[in-house]
Symmetry: C2
Subunit: 78 residues, 2 copies
Amino acid sequence: MKTQGQHFRIYTPASLGAAIRHYRQQAGLSQADLAERTGLNRTYLSDLEQGHETEQVKRILRVLKQLGVRMTLEEADW
Amino acid sequence: MKTQGQHFRIYTPASLGAAIRHYRQQAGLSQADLAERTGLNRTYLSDLEQGHETEQVKRILRVLKQLGVRMTLEEADW
DNA sequence: CTAGTGTGTCTGAATATCAGGGCAACGTTA
DNA sequence: TAACGTTGCCCTGATATTCAGACACACTAG
């Protein structure tokens, strides 16, 4: 029944964070909920959603950009 | 003139690495070339392509999986 | 054979990151 | 008002990661 969810193009840590926040809220989860489900720290998720500039993400995105590749996030509906 | 390149679904650090390697080779670049262009260390790229299990990438993929979101890489042809 | 290229891997030092605990601010609800 | 849920943010110690530089191996070209 294809809700045909939107998709996000990821260019920066900030857009990655915004997308994650979107999907988390869409799932009706709090940061604490998601932290528990993933075994991660809530502070980490907070930072992640805010696009807290992490070197690793920036590095990977830099590589992809250099290669002319774009990253996309979309609902999986496996 | 759509070369209609293939796309990659990223589930693990290994699949991310494989995709990056694919695009790098397609671009006709050596690891050293890409390292120079991105300002990164060649060793890092080597590890990245091999899917060297990095906690950070795994964490992010874990979050996305938990949210039912999939990551895709594809040629940008901006 | 020799030189050059591409890649994997090792080391140690320098950085970056994460978890855990806590607190403040805000909005909502009773 | 008080209680609660949610989120941003700070701190600290423990970990994970990245870098530089070097070396070995495989492969190819000359």
